[in-house]
Symmetry: C7
Subunit: 93 residues, 7 copies
């Protein structure tokens, strides 16, 4: 399985929305965040004192993110998103 590195999180995308090409829209007018399930969590980035910084989401949680965040990875025919934890907007309670 894929293990995300650093402060990254591996997400199984839930809803595949309509793509609007590769164009980044300015402002918050048109960007529709999507959500997905956390599959794996990286070890965390290393701070200036050599300590790992915690990541605030756990495996199994549903997270929301802007649809232009992260990088898509196709692995064993499944579509995942590798996204920095700091780019996650919210988590469902």
């Amino acid at each position: 399985m894929l293990k995300p590195l650093g402060d990254r999180v591996l997400v199984k995308v839930r809803n595949e929305e309509e793509k609007v090409g590769g164009i980044v829209l300015a402002g918050n007018a048109k960007e529709k965040p999507t959500s997905g399930e956390v599959i794996a969590v990286g070890p965390g980035a290393i701070d200036h004192h050599g300590n790992r910084m915690p990541i605030d989401v756990k495996v199994g949680e549903t997270v929301w993110y802007d649809k232009y965040s992260g990088t898509s990875i196709k692995y064993n025919d499944d579509e995942y998103l590798v996204i920095r934890a700091g780019d996650l907007l919210a988590v469902e309670d």
Copy 2:
């Protein structure tokens, strides 16, 4: 419910002003900040010493922000804004 992550705040938008497309206007000539009610507050960003940095607004307060700040999220048919606490301009007393 949605819990904002890091230094983010979840806001229920109060007044939906006229959109002027997705174009960011330069300067402060035309940008009209909007306001909303704080619904949830994130745990805060982590500083260089591993401590959480406080967020200066509380649930229930009315906050003002530039209308191009933050990211809109539609959740259970309601429109929210996820915005970094540092992008909030002012809070009503």
Copy 3:
């Protein structure tokens, strides 16, 4: 009343100069700073040690700033400017 957040200051604009559209002019050739009265001062930004950094202006003082700095807020039919303290150029003695 509005309370500015972080290192921001709420200013009541004094002189409303002629607008030259929303275009930022390069260099210092045409930018005419304006001045206003400080109405409220934020708690200050938090430094890397978790302490509030002081803000060098007080309520009632007249401050000068570049006319493209800050964000305009209309609140109770009055026009204010929310501006970061670090963007204030000078204060009248």
Copy 4:
């Protein structure tokens, strides 16, 4: 043999995908990460206290990265990629 410097990793590229010219596509719409085998690992970057920062991958592991990351090097007729460890997205378990 080539020894990567600093926080860099030397990777033997596994799958050579179709090139889409030298144009960087915006967003995650079209970018297909690739994978490769770690051949050598640099000593790590030096942090603000003069210590080496660890690199989270080891020789022999399969790593995934965005196809526009890193720099290609042709050495002894073999194609390698020199990439910063922080640009690696994930490692296979």
Copy 5:
């Protein structure tokens, strides 16, 4: 009188050179620094430990700066320049 804020210095411009519009010329080919007299010095910026950082020029000294640095202020019919101390190039002995 105007008191500059932070790491800023108030300068009375000495020689008003011919303007070449508001266009910033690239490189050092055409930029002619100008000089002026220091009228007032700000309290200094605050460093990461909460201390004021010293400013290396004093009232009455003649300083040199790139003509595109700083912001012009008209105050009581006099033209001043508010400029960050770090943008001053040299001081006359």
Copy 6:
């Protein structure tokens, strides 16, 4: 002889590849790193504690770098490259 300053290294370029004008190509599609011999090593940059940061290459070693890195210097009719140590990609064993 020339002594590089700070974190810079003086390199005698080995192979002069075909130039493709002064245009920086995006991505790693076309950039062909070159190699050269280290002629001299700077004293190292100074970190936040006032200490010199070590440079990981030595005189006589063969280093590889992206062909758009560094600055060419003609000195006594020889062509050298002055390049920051952090821009060196790899060193030959």
Copy 7:
């Protein structure tokens, strides 16, 4: 005489090469560094602990720099260059 401020160095330009307009050429293809004699050295920049950072060149030394670095100053009919010490590439032994 002119005293450079901060981490700046005052250089008497040695060879005035042909100008190619004010256009910055990309890459290292066409940029020809020039050299000059150090006339004066600033006190050094102040680091995060309030200490002056040393400057690695001395008055009388010949330094090399990229011809687009620094700012030209005409002072008493002589042409000088004020350049940050960190932009100096090398010093002649």
